[in-house]
Amino acid sequence: MSLSAAIGQTPSPSPVVDAAVVRSPGYWTGVLRRLSRDPVAMTALVVIVLLLLMAIFAPYIAPADPSKGSMLRRLKPIGFPGYPLGADELGRDMLSRLIHGGRLSLLMGVTPVPIAFVIGSLLGITAGYVGGLTNTLIMRTVDVFYAFPSVLLAVALSGALGAGLTNALVSLTLVFVPPIARVAESVTTQVRGLDYIDAARASGAKAGSIIRVHVLGNVLGPIFVYATSLVSVSMILASGLSFLGLGVRPPEPEWGLMLNTLRTAIYTQPMVAALPGVMIFITSIAFNMVSDGLRSAMDVKS
C-alpha cells in the first residue's frame, strides 16, 4: 500500500514547489476585519483620527491665532459672534486654542506610551525569555517602580525634575515602562512555555532567532493591546500634570493647562471653562473604546 493511500489523502504526484500555494489571510488581517465590524470601536477610531488630523493641521484649521488675545473679548460665552466656542480669560479664541491644544495634549498624552512600549517590551521580553537571574534582576527593578502608584510616580518625578514638557514626557514614560514590562514578561514567560518554542529550541535555533521568529509575533499583540489601554490613562495623567502646573508652561495651549487657567472662570463661563476637560474626556474615551475593541477583536474566541 502506498504511503498516500494509507493516509487517505491524494497528494500531487510530484512535490509541487511554490506556484500554487494559497496563503491564508494572516492573523492581523482577521483582527482588523473583526475590528472593522465593531461599530463602537470604529466610531472611536474615527474620533481619534479626526483629533490627530486636527492637531496636525491645527494652523490650517484654526480660525484664529491661538495666542492672540483681546481684553475686550475675554470670557465670552459659547456662540459669541466670531468665537464659536467662546473666548478664554485672555480673550483668545477657545476653538482655536482647543484645536492647537490638541497638539501638545496628544503629544504629551500619546508619546509616552509608544516609547514605554518599546522599552517595556524590550525589558519584559528579555526577562521572560532569558529567565533566571536576568529575569530576577530586571523584574525586581521593575517591581520597585511598579510599587509606586502611577500618579504618584509621575508627580514625584516631574516634581523633582521640575516642570516642563520634556520632564513631563520623561516622567510619564517612566510611569508606563513598569506595567508594560510586567505584561511583556508574563506573556513571554507564558509563550516560552509553549511547545512550539520547545520545538524551535529542539531544532537547534539560537535564542535571537527564536525570539524574532517565534516569540515576538506572539507576544507583541497582547502587549500592544495592553499598551493601547494605557493611552487613555496617559492622556488623563499628562493633562493632570499640566493641570498641576508640572507639564506644559503657559502660554502654550494645552488642554490640561487651559483647564487650570480657566478654573477662575467657572463662575462666569462654566461652559467655556469646562471645554478643555471635555476634550480630554473625549480623547480618553475614544482611546479606551478602541483599546476595548482591539482586545475583543484579538480574542480568537469571539
Binding site: 509541487v16 492573523y27 531544532s203
Partner: protein
C-alpha cells in the same frame, strides 16, 4: 536519504554500527523545585525523573508507558535537552552528548513531536514556514527550505498547494499532528521522540497517523521513542517497552515479553486495567486501588509498595534495583531480585564468575 537534496544537511555519522545503542541514558535525574514551598534554602522537590537508565537501539521503537505524572514527558525533554538534567549522562552513538557531541549537532539528529498538536505550532506562522524554520536555522537557504517543506508536506499526505499557506488553526487535529511530524523530519533526524503524539487524536485519525509513522520509519530508517499511556497503542507499535512509575523505571524489555509476561506487579496491574474489548469478559475487579502517590514525597523503598497487592514489609525499606532477567527483560521488583528478602524472590544464585 530520500527527502530533498541530501547535500544540504550532512548526515550524522553512523559510528558504532547496529550493535551500538543509538542513545544510551545513564542515571538521569531531574528534580523540580516546588513553587511556593520552602522559605530558606532548599525546599521540597518533585522527583519527576529519579535515576533512569536505558538504551535506545538503532532502528527500534522504544515505548514508554506509565501513569500521568510518572515522568514520561520529563524524560523526553531531558533526552531532547530542552531542560537540563540535574545529573546523569547521555551517549549518542558513542559520543557523549554535551562533551563529544555539541548540542546543535545532537539536536539535528534527535527531534520531537509533542502531544498538543496546536500548542506545538506557532500560530503566527504558516505551516510551510514552521516546517522550513528548522533547516533554515541550520543554514539551508530559504528557497531550498521551502522546497523541502513542500516535499515533506506531500510525504505526510498534505497537498502542499492547498496546505502550505495555511495557519495552524485552519487545520484539524490530525492534520496538525502530521505537520508536527513533517517538521520533526525536516532536519533529517535519526531519533524521533513522540510524546503522546497520537493521544489527543480521534480513534479514526489515530490509526491514520500510526500508519504514517510506521511508513516514515521504514522509509527513513528512523528510531522512535514512543511515549503513551495507551497500552494498546504501545503494544501495537513498539519493539521494546519501558514502564515507568513515579520517576523510576519499573520494567523494561521486549514488547511481547513484557506484555505477555510482566515481571513487575505494576506492569501487570496496568495491563489488567485496560478495558476489555469483549462484552462477555468484562473486568470484575480493579487490579489496583487508589491513585498514584504524590511525586513530591514518593514512598520509601519500592515506590509501588503502597498499592502493591504483593508487598511485604521489606518492600517499604529496600529500593529494588533494575534486575536483569532472561530475554533481556529487566524489572525493578524485589520479587525479581534474587535474595532480596521478599518471600517470592528467587533464591540467590551464586555468581558464576
Amino acid at each position: 536519504m530520500i527527502i530533498g537534496e541530501p547535500a544540504h544537511l550532512p548526515d550524522g555519522p553512523d559510528r558504532g554500527g547496529p550493535a551500538q545503542p543509538l542513545l544510551s541514558v545513564r542515571d538521569l535525574v531531574k528534580h523540580f523545585p516546588v513553587k511556593g514551598k520552602g522559605l530558606f534554602g532548599k525546599g521540597a522537590v518533585v522527583r519527576a525523573v529519579d535515576g533512569v537508565s536505558f538504551d535506545i537501539r538503532k532502528g527500534e521503537t522504544l515505548g514508554v508507558v506509565g501513569e500521568s505524572g510518572c515522568g514520561k514527558s520529563t524524560t523526553a525533554r531531558l533526552l531532547m535537552h530542552l531542560i537540563k538534567a540535574d545529573s546523569g549522562e547521555m551517549v549518542f552513538d558513542g559520543e557523549k552528548v554535551g562533551a563529544d557531541l555539541d548540542l546543535t549537532a545532537y539536536r539535528r539528529q534527535v527531534q520531537m513531536v509533542f502531544q498538543d498538536s496546536y500548542a506545538s505550532l506557532n500560530p503566527r506562522l504558516t505551516i510551510e514556514e514552521s516546517i522550513a524554520y528548522g533547516p533554515q536555522v541550520h543554514g539551508v537557504s530559504a528557497a531550498k527550505a521551502r522546497a523541502k517543506a513542500h516535499d515533506l508536506l506531500a510525504r505526510v499526505g498534505l497537498e502542499p498547494g492547498r496546505f502550505a499557506g495555511r495557519y495552524p488553526h485552519e487545520l484539524s487535529g490530525g492534520q496538525r499532528q502530521r505537520i508536527n511530524i513533517a517538521r520533526a523530519l525536516a532536519l533529517e533526524p535519526r531519533l524521533v521522540i513522540l510524546d503522546e503524539a497520537v493521544s489527543a487524536l480521534d480513534k479514526s485519525v489515530e490509526a491514520q497517523v500510526l500508519n504514517l509513522l510506521q511508513d516514515l520509519k521504514d522509509e527513513f530508517g528512523l528510531t522512535y521513542v514512543f511515549i503513551s499511556h495507551d497500552l494498546n497503542v504501545v503494544k501495537f507499535i513498539v519493539d521494546r517497552v519501558m514502564v515507568m512509575y513515579l520517576g523510576k523505571v519499573a520494567e523494561i524489555g521486549e514488547g511481547p515479553a513484557v506484555f505477555g509476561a510482566p515481571r513487575h506487579p505494576y506492569t501487570a496491574a496496568l495491563l489488567a486495567s485496560m478495558p476489555k474489548m469483549d462484552p462477555d469478559a468484562r473486568s470484575a475487579e480493579a487490579p489496583l486501588t487508589g491513585d498514584p502517590p504524590n511525586p513530591i514525597n514518593p514512598p520509601s523503598g519500592c515506590r509501588f509498595h503502597t498499592r502493591c497487592a504483593l508487598a511485604e514489609p521489606v518492600c517499604s525499606v529496600q529500593e529494588p534495583p533494575l534486575a536483569a532477567m532472561e530475554g533481556l527483560q529487566e524489572a525493578a521488583c524485589l520479587m525479581a531480585l534474587p535474595g532480596s528478602g521478599h518471600s517470592r524472590a528467587p533464591a540467590p544464585v551464586e555468581a558464576a564468575a
